[in-house]
């Protein structure tokens, strides 16, 4: 579900919605989901971006989040 259109063009962040409550969440620097936009991890480090993507895909598969979106 993630879109990669911004990949490689400036800092990236990963956002999704909690499956049950629907709230918008962001991956923070500990790669935990936070409802606080200000805690969103923004990075251009490709290794970190790959880990964010992996974490997001894993949590989507676990039905914790839905509608992943990699945001610029």
């Amino acid at each position: 579900m993630s879109t990669l259109k911004h990949k490689g063009k400036g800092p990236q962040a990963m956002t999704a919605n909690e499956l049950r409550d629907g709230y918008n969440v962001w991956l923070d620097e500990n790669l935990d989901w936070s409802r606080d936009y200000a805690k969103a991890l923004r990075t251009e480090d490709q290794d970190l971006i790959d880990r964010m993507q992996l974490k997001a895909n894993t949590d989507e598969a676990k039905n914790l989040v839905a509608d992943l979106l990699e945001a610029k």
């Binding site: 919605n17 499956l19 049950r20 409550d21 629907g22 918008n24 676990k62 839905a66």
Partner: protein, 446 residues
């Protein structure tokens, strides 16, 4: 108002039960989001940027007190104590939790309401003149006709996967409060030269990113032919509407690209192939539906009683309020009253919905304001001269956009100019149409 029969009640109950099972399977991981998405959308449940959103249809904008209380109950129990009333007569809840939604739908079903066809490329909630059934201006109550269309269009097998969503609005008054020229199809109840009541059909209107004013498809359609003619129109749209580009898929683009004359020929040719008796509605059925919209027992009252006239004469604030909020009712001694839900001395709050897709109807505002963002910078675009009435018109963009601060000054300047230039009885739009954009633009960009 219309009441569900046994079939309707059973259908809605079964649909809710199905959805409960789908939600349970989604939460248990037996349905992926990709699989679940079309199922939730068919039940009016969106997953938006900030949270889920449940859109509940209010057919022709009519609610009884029990239904209104239920909407409030849903807001209190499952949401944040409020909902958004939309311009297309839906109620939206913006913070429901997925496990609660089946319970919300059960509660809605208990008062004969649902969220079916409030999403997806199908025929959406049929909207109506908000004064329908009460105004002295209408030829007849348009709600039975709206109800007929609702019944015909609900789960219509041929029109469940249209190129794009499809919106129908109806009115029976000359003064258009239903914005019929900005709908995929607008229907106005009219009389022909012999005094027979029928319908004028408007097609190809819409707002959104590409605002277009609808054009007349049929000047007069006999009542009994309505559903057949709608069928023919929808078939042409279904056949020729673009499916390759979401932004060009609405019927307004098809009508514009085809031209109204050719489009009309296509519809009439299709119409000629339809056996009208197949979906003709008998007079008895019309009367059955109409009976649900019967008037309450009005008391015998006189118009403009002395106390009312005295209050108008003595109290300027009341006089101004009455001028702007009271309209003529069809029954003597009664009036239609508009009640604002805006809190006193506060911003309007969460009672309207608006977005870049023009839900706020800025294209047809006398002054239309659209918020935009480009390269991280927010700004506002101004349009002037829009009209949402029977003389519907799309406003014209004044020019470059403004920051929030500049915009407020610019609007103030335009209002001052209007007050200075205004002639007796003129609204902003009237003054604008008389003197043109140039003077307004000059003070807007001063």
């Amino acid at each position: 108002m219309y009441r569900y029969d046994e079939f309707d009640a059973q259908f809605v109950a079964e649909r809710t039960k199905q959805f409960r099972g789908q939600v349970e399977r989604r939460l248990a991981g037996r349905l992926s989001e990709a699989e679940f998405r079309p199922l939730r959308l068919m039940n009016g449940l969106y997953l938006q940027l900030h949270a889920y959103m449940l859109r509940v249809a209010i057919p022709y904008g009519t609610l009884n007190s029990e239904q209104f209380r239920m909407l409030a109950h849903l807001a209190e129990k499952y949401d944040r104590g409020y909902g958004h009333v939309t311009t297309r007569q839906n109620m939206q809840y913006n913070w429901p939790k997925l496990p609660d939604v089946p319970d919300m739908l059960d509660d809605l079903a208990s008062v004969q309401m649902h969220a079916i066809q409030t999403s997806g490329n199908c025929i959406r909630n049929v909207t109506c003149d908000p004064y329908a059934g009460a105004t002295a201006e209408e030829i007849e109550d348009p709600r039975p006709m709206a109800e007929l269309i609702r019944q015909w269009s609900t789960l219509h097998p041929e029109f469940t996967f249209l190129p794009r969503k499809f919106k129908i609005a109806v009115t029976a008054a000359e003064k258009d409060r239903a914005l019929i020229k900005a709908h995929d199809i607008g229907i106005q109840t009219v009389k022909n030269e012999t005094g027979e009541v029928g319908y004028k059909i408007i097609v190809g209107g819409g707002l959104g990113r590409t605002p277009i004013i609808g054009q007349t498809l049929r000047e007069y359609l006999p009542k009994s032919e309505l559903l057949s003619y709608l069928t023919a129109t929808l078939r042409i749209y279904n056949r020729y509407g673009r499916r390759d580009n979401k932004y060009k898929a609405r019927i307004k683009i098809l009508v514009q690209e085809t031209g109204i004359e050719v489009f009309r020929e296509q519809v009439e040719a299709e119409y000629a192939t339809i056996d009208i008796s197949d979906i003709a509605v008998s007079e008895a059925e019309r009367e059955r539906i109409k009976a649900y919209f019967a008037n309450p027992d009005f008391e015998t009252l006189e118009n403009d009683p002395a106390e009312y006239i005295k209050a108008i004469d003595d109290n300027r604030a009341f006089r101004l309020w009455a001028k702007n909020n009271v309209a003529a009712h069809k029954a003597d001694g009664y009036a239609i009253v508009n009640v604002s839900l805006k809190p006193k001395e506060l911003a309007p709050g969460d009672i309207t919905a608006g977005c870049i897709n023009a839900c706020g109807h800025h294209h047809v505002g006398h002054i239309g304001i659209l918020g935009l963002e480009k390269a991280g910078v927010e700004f506002y675009q101004v349009k002037l001269g829009g009209d949402s009435s029977e003389d519907a018109a799309i406003g014209k963009v004044t020019g470059p956009g403004f920051s929030q601060e500049e915009l407020i000054d610019g609007i103030e300047n335009m209002v001052e100019l209007y007050l200075k230039q205004r002639e007796e009885g003129e609204r902003f739009l009237d003054t604008y149409n008389r003197i043109g954009m140039a003077p307004f633009k000059e003070v807007l960009y001063a």
